[in-house]
């Protein structure tokens, strides 16, 4: 994965549904357009929920990967 410089790093570890998407919705407003959020989570539900949140809100999911229990994903603000 290419290195991207995050405007915001978000720690969502230990948080369960629906808090990760709620925190993303709040956080995305704090970065500028085209800004990048790099987040870490542990709830396996985010593997389905964050892509769905991106598809429906229009923000771009740049990458998402899970290593053992930790899930890292990168989202770019589109609008």
């Amino acid at each position: 994965m290419e290195a991207v410089k995050a405007d915001l790093t978000l720690d969502l570890k230990g948080l369960l549904c629906p808090i990760p998407v709620v925190k993303m919705a709040q956080a995305i407003k704090t970065v500028p357009l085209a800004g990048i959020i790099e987040a870490t989570a542990t709830d396996p539900g985010v593997m389905a929920d964050i892509p769905a949140w991106c598809r429906t809100t229009g923000h771009k999911l740049l990458s998402m990967e899970r290593r053992e229990k930790v899930i890292n994903f990168v989202v770019q603000r589109v609008k």
């Binding site: 230990g14 948080l15 369960l16 549904c17 629906p18 808090i19 998407v21 709620v22 993303m24 919705a25 709040q26 593997m47 389905a48 964050i50 892509p51 769905a52 949140w53 598809r55 429906t56 809100t57 229009g58 999911l61 740049l62 990458s63 998402m64 990967e65 899970r66 290593r67 053992e68 994903f73």
Partner: protein
């Protein structure tokens, strides 16, 4: 050691846009589990940019009620003794006189799940509109001032239906 890396499929195609679409809910239940579901969906929908309205009626009013004794007549006062606030409601099964509520709270805390009062506050902060049913307030002898400040309005069925017909998703919980 090699670690298993699981990559989620990054679908580029946009889903059905949710921003600006409406969700309306009738919340009839005053059970802890059903209220958790209602507020989780409401906060999730608000996080997806949807406009959410929750219409609380009958037992659901406990979710937006202050911890006060209400009721004016004999029956109303009797009912007031049994009504809880959002922190006091128990699960629909296995409540066992409050033990179930205690157990669920412990289990949820251990897993760091948001509590019902936290979920409700989050819903208010995200702009979810909380409405109370006028008729049930009257029947159950609950006054407007017995409801929390986050309640936007007290309305009837026509107002709810007007909102529901404009919604893409309507839920009855």
């Amino acid at each position: 050691m090699e670690m298993a890396v699981l990559t989620a499929p990054v679908r580029e195609t946009a889903g059905e846009p949710t921003t600006g679409t409406k969700v309306s809910m009738v919340v009839l239940s005053g059970d802890m589990d059903k209220l958790i579901a209602a507020f989780s969906i409401a906060t999730g929908a608000a996080a997806m940019g949807m406009e959410v309205t929750m219409f609380f009626t009958f037992w659901g009013l406990q979710a937006i009620r202050k911890p006060v004794r209400n009721g004016t007549g004999l029956f109303g006062k009797m009912l007031g003794l049994f009504l809880k606030d959002i922190d006091g409601v128990g699960p629909s099964k296995l409540n066992m006189g409050g033990m179930g509520r205690w157990m669920f709270k412990k289990m949820m805390k251990a897993r760091n799940v948001a509590t019902l009062p936290e979920l409700r506050q989050m819903a208010i902060d995200l702009g979810v509109r909380l409405q109370a049913c006028q008729m049930s307030l009257d029947v159950m002898e609950i006054k407007r001032e017995d409801l929390i400040d986050g309640v936007e309005d007290v309305v009837g069925v026509a107002a709810f239906l007007e909102n529901a017909t404009q919604s893409k998703t309507t839920l009855f919980i």
